[in-house]
Amino acid sequence: MTTPAISVKGLIKRFGEAEVLHGIDLDIPQGQVTCLIGPSGSGKSTLLRCMAFLEEATDGLIFINGEPLGFAPGPQGKPVRLPAARIRAVRSQIGMVFQQFNLWPHMTALGNVSEALKTVHGVRKNEAEERAMIQLKKVGLAERAGHYPSQLSGGQQQRVAIARALALEPKIMLFDEPTSSLDPELTGEVLNVMRSLAADGMTMVVVSHEIGFAAAVCQQIAFLDHGKLLMTGTPQQIFGKPRHPRLDQFLDTYLDRGAAMLV
């Protein structure tokens, strides 16, 4: 049995009084696409952000390819916080794509993609930009390399953001609602890039409302509701009948959005 790419163990997250994740256990298998689906407020984005240690879990542990991220198991069972440099080292295996793209506005597309290579990895400017261009070509934006984020459409910005993450050669890519702030026409170009990434065998975790994408591209689907993992399985297991009543109710909300052609 190979080590899971990400292993979430007993994850609890509270924001003040409110507990948004009530003890999640989930393994993300290597080389597969896992989709986290669920209604708004179910905790799926929080779970993904915990996997990247952008949110600190209240309790529980995250392992990236077997290595603890953020907190390590302590002597008395109480997790202990790891030093910042250790967090950066483990986190370097993960690339993240955000709903709001989060491109650095004062840098061109090429600058965004080559920044960490230059600043963090000490790659010379020429080489960093060459490597960045390869990634921009991969997402079909080589001719937009000199444009600033504000000169690009939402879909183009998100593809630059994907290129920026890929430039650091991550082993795992996390997508936090990557198409939710795009209009339907631009959604397709981002999903296409994600499809080809999946076809290349990238381990991916995707929080998305694109049920069609989840059904067609993911090997594993995890359905969250009210901070609990209600079910995990293949698309056939999740979407096939008989369905969990809560899932049925959730999917009903998608019918009018033309997502009726499920597996």
């Binding site: 986190r91 370097s92 993240m96 709001q100 004062h106 960490a116 600043t119 504000s150």
Partner: protein, 213 residues
């Protein structure tokens, strides 16, 4: 008014520009450190940072200049009065620029820093490459405004014996009995310099118009 008098005024205005420019530059550097300190989660840094701002913003510049001018020799530092003048102006503008920059720093969207976290940038690398450049761009219009304020406030350094534009006009008015012409000319020179600063600012702002968050 003779060309000779006008030439003396222009020379004095160069002195005004020089003192202001040096003070604004030093003040920006200090302001950067002070605003970073004021925003620090550590109280050992944020309290001194905020205290610096309240002191230099709360005490009149004229009083600060007179205080520094008398304090430095009392501390055994016999420096020329121009150093006292630049010190006073720099510390005062540092407080205002720190406040402008603090606004800039606080307006940097959190997501940009999360992206930097994921790209592996350390806290210092994030400050240098992401937070500071964006904060400077956001605060730039108010920094230009502050530069203009300081250029005008530099007339106060005459109290420590510096003969800059205002003082020169005063001296010449006293010896020629032509105050209206001399102060009009001085006012015109201030106006021209500030117009140049404002235009330079807008030009520069346009050069990074795409880079604003």
């Amino acid at each position: 008014m003779s060309w000779k008098l006008f030439e003396l005024l222009v020379q004095a205005s160069l002195y005004t520009v020089l003192i202001s420019f040096i003070s604004i530059t030093i003040g920006l550097a200090i302001g950067m450190v002070v605003s970073a300190a004021a925003l620090s989660p550590s109280r050992a840094l944020s309290v001194p940072g905020r205290t610096f701002v309240s002191f230099f913003r709360g005490v009149p510049l004229l009083v600060q200049l007179l205080l520094i001018y008398n304090l430095l020799p009392a501390l055994g530092l016999n420096v020329p009065s121009v150093v006292a003048a630049i010190t006073g102006l720099s510390l005062c503008t540092a407080a205002y620029q720190a406040e402008n920059l603090r606004g800039g720093f606080q307006s940097v969207p959190r997501g940009l820093l999360e992206a930097a976290d994921m790209a592996g940038l350390s806290a210092f690398q994030q400050f240098r490459r992401i937070r500071a450049p964006i904060a400077l761009r956001l605060a730039f219009p108010s920094l230009v405004n502050e530069a203009i304020m300081i250029l005008k406030a530099s007339s106060l350094v005459s109290v420590v014996g510096i003969v800059e534009l205002t003082r020169m006009a005063q001296d010449l008015a006293a010896s020629t009995y032509r105050p209206i012409e001399l102060f009009s000319a001085a006012g015109l020179l201030y106006l021209i310099i500030n117009w140049l600063i404002a235009s330079g600012g807008s030009l520069f702002e346009r050069s990074f118009r795409w880079g604003r968050p």
